[in-house]
C-alpha cells in the first residue's frame, strides 16, 4: 500500500532533481505517469477490498518507541479510504495531464510538476494513514505543498504573500488539531483512528470529553477547509496557477478537513455539542461565502468562494450526522469543481490571461468545448437533475431538515437559501463569461482560441463524470462504515417535498440569473445601484481581512516592535550587557584612583593593612 504514496514521491524527486536537465517531455511523462500508476495500485486495492470485504492494514515501519508506547507509520485501507484515494489519484492524474497543456510555456515546468507530485504524496499519506500522526504529517505536508504552489510565481510579492497567508492560517488551525491529538493520546494511549473510533463506540466511553476533542479537531479542519473564521486564505490562493486551484483548492486538499471529521465519526457521534458547532459553522460559512460570490468579478474568485460555500455544505452534513452524505458531496464536488476550475483555466488561456468577467462574454461560439463542459459542470453544481450535484446536494438538504441528530428547519432554510444563491451566482458566471455580447478588448478577441487536447480532453472526462457520477450512491457504499443518521419523527413524508424543493431552487437560480444577466446585464446593474451599501459590504468580503488586519496584525506588530524589540531586547538585554560593561568600567575607574603614583601612599596602605591584619589576628588572643 505504501507504493500508492511512494510513486508520487519518486516523481517529486525525479522531477525536482533531474527535471531541469532532462527536458519537458521527461518531466511530463514522469509527472503524469507516476500518479496514474498510483491510481492503478489504488484500484487494485479497491478490488481487493471488494473481494475480501475487510479493511487492509499495512505497517510500513516503526517510527519511534517511547517506553511502552510504539508509534508506527501504518496504512489503512477501508471503504472510506478507497473513495478518497481513488478521487485523489484519479482526479489528480487528470489535472496533471491538463497541466501539460496549461503550463507548457512556463519556465519552471519541472519545478511545477515536482511540487504537484509532492502534493500528491502528502495527500495520499493523509488519506491512507492509520494513525492521526501519519495523517498530521500528510496534513502539514499538503499545507507546505499548497504554500509552494500558491506562491509558485514567487517573484511577484503579492503571490508570495498569498502563499504565506495560506500557510499561516493553516497553522493557526493546526494548533487546535494538535491539542485535540494530545487529548486523545493522553486519554486513550493510541492515535490509531480505527482504535479511537472503537474506543468511543465501546461502553464505557473514554474519560475525555468527546465534544472538546471534537471541537479542537474541527478547529484544525476549519483551517484546512477554509471555514469561518479561517477562510481568508482560500480566495487569495487563487494567485497560483489554475490547475493548482483545481487540484488543491477544489478537489483534494480542502476536503481533508471533511475527511478528518468523517473518519473520526466515532467521536462526533458521541459529541452532540461538537456536532452542533460543526453544523452551525458549516451552514453559516456556506451562506456567507455564497453572498460574497454573487458580486465577485474575477472568474477564479467566484469559484473560490463557491468552494468555501460547498465545503460549508459538507460540514453541515457532517454536523447533522450524515457522514456518508458529506463524503458523497465531496466526491461529486471533486468532479464538477475541478471541471469548473479547469474550464476557467481554459478561458483564461484562451483570453491570454484575462480573468475579469466584466471583460468577457460571447465566448460560447468561439470555444465550444470549454463552454459546454463548463455549462454541464455549472448545472451539476446548481443541482439540476440528473447530474451528480443534484443527488449529493439533495441528500444534504434532506438530512439538514430531517436528521435525528441535529437537523432543524432553520438549518434547512439557510441551506436552501444558499443553494438558491449557488445556482444564481454560478449561472451568472456562465452568462457573463460565455453568453451575451462580447465585452472583450479587440486585441484579446482576435487571439481567442480553443485549448489543446490535453486540456479539453480532461474537461470532457470531468464533465462526463459530473454527469454520471451521481448514480454511484456513495452513502450506500459507505453505509457499513458510516451509518446514516436516523430520520426524525414525522419527517419521512417530507422527503419528496424536499426533492421537489431542491429542483425548484435550481430552476429558480437558473431563471433568476438569466433574467438579471441576460440582455447585457442591465437589470443587474440597476439592482446594484439600488443597494450601494450592501454592494459595498459584499464586495469588501464583509471586511474580514481588514478586521484581522486591525485586530490582530497591527497589535502584534506593535507589541513586537515596542514591547519586545524596544523594551525587551534593547532595554533589557542590551541594557543589561551595556550596564554590566559600564559597571565594570565604573568600578575600574573608581579603583584606579588608588594608583596615584605616590610611594608614600602605597607604603601607608601597607602599614594600614598590616595594622588591620594584626588586629584581626590578635582579637582572640
Amino acid at each position: 500500500m505504501k507504493y500508492i504514496a511512494l510513486l508520487p514521491l519518486a516523481g517529486f524527486l525525479l522531477n525536482g532533481l533531474l527535471g531541469n536537465r532532462l527536458g519537458n517531455r521527461f518531466v511530463s511523462v514522469v509527472g503524469c505517469g507516476l500518479p496514474l500508476a498510483a491510481f492503478a495500485v489504488a484500484l487494485a486495492y479497491f478490488f481487493n477490498l471488494q473481494a475480501t470485504g475487510a479493511p487492509t492494514i499495512e505497517v510500513a515501519y516503526t517510527w519511534f518507541v517511547a517506553g511502552t508506547d510504539v508509534l508506527e507509520v501504518s496504512f489503512y485501507f477501508d471503504r472510506l479510504t478507497a473513495v478518497m484515494a481513488l478521487i485523489v489519484t484519479g482526479v489528480g492524474s487528470l489535472i496533471h495531464i491538463y497541466s501539460i497543456g496549461y503550463m507548457h510555456a512556463d519556465k519552471s515546468y519541472a519545478r511545477y510538476f515536482a511540487y504537484l507530485n509532492l502534493f500528491l504524496f502528502f495527500m495520499l499519506l493523509l488519506v491512507l494513514g492509520r494513525s492521526l500522526l501519519v495523517l498530521f504529517v500528510g496534513w502539514e505536508g499538503v499545507g507546505l505543498a499548497s504554500y509552494l504552489l500558491i506562491g509558485f510565481w514567487f517573484e511577484d510579492p503579492e503571490k508570495a504573500a498569498a502563499g504565506k497567508k495560506a500557510f499561516i492560517t493553516n497553522r493557526i488551525g493546526d494548533a487546535g488539531f494538535l491539542l485535540g491529538m494530545f487529548l486523545l493520546y493522553t486519554a486513550l494511549g493510541t492515535l490509531d483512528m480505527d482504535r479511537i473510533n472503537a474506543a468511543f463506540m465501546a461502553n464505557p466511553a473514554p474519560a475525555v470529553s468527546a465534544s472538546l476533542v471534537g471541537i479542537l479537531l474541527f478547529i484544525g479542519a476549519c483551517g484546512k477547509s477554509a471555514q469561518i473564521p479561517l477562510h481568508v486564505w482560500l480566495p487569495d490562493a487563487m494567485a497560483g496557477p489554475t490547475p493548482v486551484s483545481a487540484l488543491i483548492h477544489a478537489a483534494t486538499m480542502v476536503t481533508a478537513g471533511v475527511y478528518l471529521v468523517a473518519r473520526l465519526s466515532g467521536i462526533y457521534m458521541h459529541a452532540p455539542e461538537a456536532s452542533a458547532v460543526v453544523a452551525t459553522v458549516g451552514c453559516a460559512t456556506a451562506f456567507f461565502a455564497a453572498t460574497i460570490a454573487v458580486v465577485q468579478t474575477d472568474i477564479k474568485k467566484v469559484l473560490a468562494y463557491s468552494t468555501v460555500s460547498q465545503l460549508g455544505f459538507m460540514f453541515l452534513a457532517l454536523g447533522v450526522g450524515a457522514y456518508g452524505a458529506a463524503i458523497f458531496h465531496l466526491y461529486t464536488h471533486a468532479f464538477f469543481k475541478a471541471c469548473l476550475f479547469l474550464g476557467a483555466g481554459s478561458v483564461i488561456h484562451a483570453l491570454s490571461g484575462e480573468q475579469d468577467i466584466r471583460k468577457m462574454g460571447g465566448l460560447a461560439k468561439k470555444i465550444p468545448v470549454t463552454f459546454w463542459t463548463f455549462a454541464i459542470a455549472t448545472a451539476a453544481i446548481a443541482g439540476i437533475p440528473p447530474l451528480a450535484g443534484f443527488f449529493s446536494k439533495d441528500e444534504i438538504l434532506w438530512f439538514a431538515l430531517a436528521s435525528g441528530k441535529g437537523g432543524s428547519a432553520l438549518l434547512f432554510a439557510v441551506a436552501a437559501l444558499t443553494a438558491l444563491l449557488t445556482a444564481f451566482y454560478m449561472f451568472r458566471l456562465l452568462w457573463l463569461t460565455f453568453l451575451g455580447r462580447s465585452r472583450m478588448s479587440a486585441e484579446v478577441e482576435h487571439h481567442v482560441h480553443e485549448s489543446p487536447l490535453s486540456m479539453t480532453g480532461v474537461l470532457v472526462i470531468l464533465a462526463g463524470l459530473s454527469t454520471v457520477g451521481g448514480f454511484l450512491s456513495i452513502p450506500h457504499v459507505l453505509e457499513p462504515l458510516l451509518p446514516l443518521p436516523p430520520v426524525a419523527e414525522g419527517m419521512q413524508p417530507f422527503h419528496y417535498a424536499v426533492v421537489g424543493a431542491s429542483i425548484a431552487i435550481a430552476a429558480a437560480g437558473l431563471a433568476g440569473a438569466a433574467w438579471f444577466f441576460g440582455n447585457g446585464a442591465v437589470r443587474a446593474e440597476r439592482v446594484r445601484q439600488a443597494f450601494p451599501v450592501l454592494n459595498r459590504v459584499l464586495m469588501g468580503k464583509y471586511y474580514v481581512d481588514e478586521l484581522y488586519e486591525s485586530a490582530i496584525h497591527r497589535p502584534l506588530l506593535w507589541i513586537s516592535e515596542r514591547v519586545f524589540l524596544g523594551l525587551g531586547d534593547r532595554r533589557l538585554f542590551d541594557g543589561a550587557l551595556h550596564g554590566l560593561a559600564a559597571l565594570g568600567r565604573g568600578t575600574a575607574a573608581a579603583l584606579g584612583r588608588v594608583q596615584t603614583g605616590s610611594l608614600h601612599l602605597y607604603a601607608f596602605l601597607v602599614l594600614a593593612g598590616l595594622a588591620f591584619a594584626l588586629y584581626l589576628g590578635l582579637r582572640h588572643v
Partner: protein, 100 residues
C-alpha cells in the same frame, strides 16, 4: 618586665619607626635609609629569638639578611642615581609618573 620581652618590643618599635619613616619623609635617600633600619630591626628580633632556641639557625638567617641588604642597596643606589638624573630632584613627589 623581662629583658627578652623588652628587646622584642624594641625590635618592633624600631621596625615601626622605619616604616613610619618611609611614609612620612620625602627625601628618597632618607627613605632608603629607613628601609635599612627596618632590616636591622628584623635582625634584632632574630637574634633575640636565637637566645631561646637554636643559635646556629638564627645566625645563618641573620647572615642571609645581611647579604640581602647589601645586594639591595647595591642596586637601589644606582636606580636612585638614574632617577635623579631624569628628574633633577630627590623629592618623592616628583616621581609620581605611574599614576592612574
Amino acid at each position: 618586665m623581662d629583658s627578652l620581652q623588652l628587646l622584642g618590643w624594641s625590635a618592633v618599635a624600631i621596625f615601626a619607626l622605619g616604616l613610619l619613616g618611609v611614609i612620612i619623609r620625602r627625601n628618597v635617600l632618607v627613605m632608603l635609609m629607613c628601609m635599612e633600619l627596618m632590616l636591622n630591626a628584623v635582625n634584632l628580633s632574630l637574634v633575640v629569638f636565637a637566645q631561646r632556641g637554636n643559635p646556629a639557625e638564627a645566625s645563618v638567617l641573620v647572615f642571609l639578611v645581611f647579604v640581602v641588604a647589601a645586594a639591595e642597596i647595591a642596586i637601589a643606589i644606582p636606580i636612585v642615581l638614574l632617577l635623579v638624573r631624569h628628574k633633577r630632584s630627590l623629592d618623592l613627589g616628583a616621581y609620581a609618573d605611574l599614576r592612574g
